[in-house]
């Protein structure tokens, strides 16, 4: 069996596969129109989301849902606030 050690990050989830499979999955995603960042030295590839997919979701005006942690690591999901008006604010310390 081929050695693992190549990481594919797809939809935010990292999975380890053999190098040949990792490169193949990256190529396949690219062929399907997805943006792919690959680093052969670091043995990792990141499969992103196509502009057309993002554009369609935004134009639908459904607020894209997400789940993120707070400082204590507690997870919060945007759609749990359904029924309330929400002001979403992105900021940063930089």
């Amino acid at each position: 069996m081929a050695e693992l050690g190549f990481t594919v990050i797809d939809d935010g989830r990292a999975v380890e596969v053999a190098s040949a499979e990792g490169v193949e999955r990256a190529r396949h995603a690219q062929g399907a129109g997805r943006p792919v960042a690959i680093d052969l030295d670091e043995r990792a590839a990141y499969l992103g989301v196509a502009a057309s997919v993002r554009a369609r979701a935004l134009a639908s005006l459904e607020a894209p849902d997400f789940t993120l942690p707070d400082l204590d690591g507690r997870l919060h999901t945007l759609s749990n606030h359904r029924g309330k008006k929400v002001l979403l604010v992105a900021y940063a310390s930089w």
Partner: protein, 201 residues
């Protein structure tokens, strides 16, 4: 910065949700501990929200109605006038509009107008976000030099995205308030590009 507004309007079926586009929870901690927010105050080291909403700088605000629909797309607004002397943007105008919407005194933007005002991502920008994503993953694993290469590539692909160009500076050992930022900002604005792009009146 937003806690007072949350307190003022929470009785009207309203909440604020803040998301810090920072390299680590520790980078955002002093801000959050100083603000003592009663609203969800989340950490987004991987820029999930920036990708989903096509955000290109901070602060970026979005209004979402009780059905979970966007009724005001990405806009620039501050919760207070702390940075007004730098940004030239006053908090009061947005806060006034927000109050009126939350209290049901004014309608938000129409669907048509909201769509008109939305900026949608390009393929180059999504490629930049993939490069950012790989860089961020490498950075989390202590591969700072390799990460920096992908962050730089991302910045070249999306020169208008300061969540990438400025937001990755702390992960590249660069002071995001320092001379390299000022140089980048100077070149950008000199070419006729605004750093902040609030929605038109």
């Amino acid at each position: 910065m937003w806690q007072a507004t949350h307190e003022e309007l929470r009785g009207f079926g309203f909440t604020i949700v803040t998301v810090a586009l920072d390299k680590s929870p520790e980078a955002a901690r002093p801000w959050i501990e100083a603000a003592k927010p009663a609203h969800p105050s989340l950490i987004d080291t991987r820029h999930v929200v920036a990708d989903l909403y096509n955000m290109v700088n901070v602060p970026t605000i979005v209004w979402i109605d009780a059905r979970g629909r966007i009724v005001r797309p990405n806009d620039v607004a501050f919760g207070t006038d702390t940075f007004k002397h730098i940004t030239g943007l006053e908090a009061a105008k947005h806060l006034g509009a927000l109050r009126a919407w939350v209290r049901g005194e004014a309608a938000p933007l129409s669907e048509g107008r909201t769509r008109e005002l939305q900026a949608l991502p390009t393929e180059a920008h999504q490629q930049a976000r993939a490069e950012f994503g790989l860089g961020q993953w490498l950075f989390e694993r202590g591969r700072a030099e390799a990460a920096a290469r992908h962050f730089e590539r991302a910045g070249e692909l999306a020169p208008h995205d300061f969540t990438i160009r400025r937001g990755t500076m702390p992960m590249r050992g660069i002071d995001p308030m320092g001379p390299e930022f000022r140089e980048m900002l100077g070149a950008w604005t000199k070419a006729g590009n605004p750093y902040y792009r609030p929605l038109p009146e």
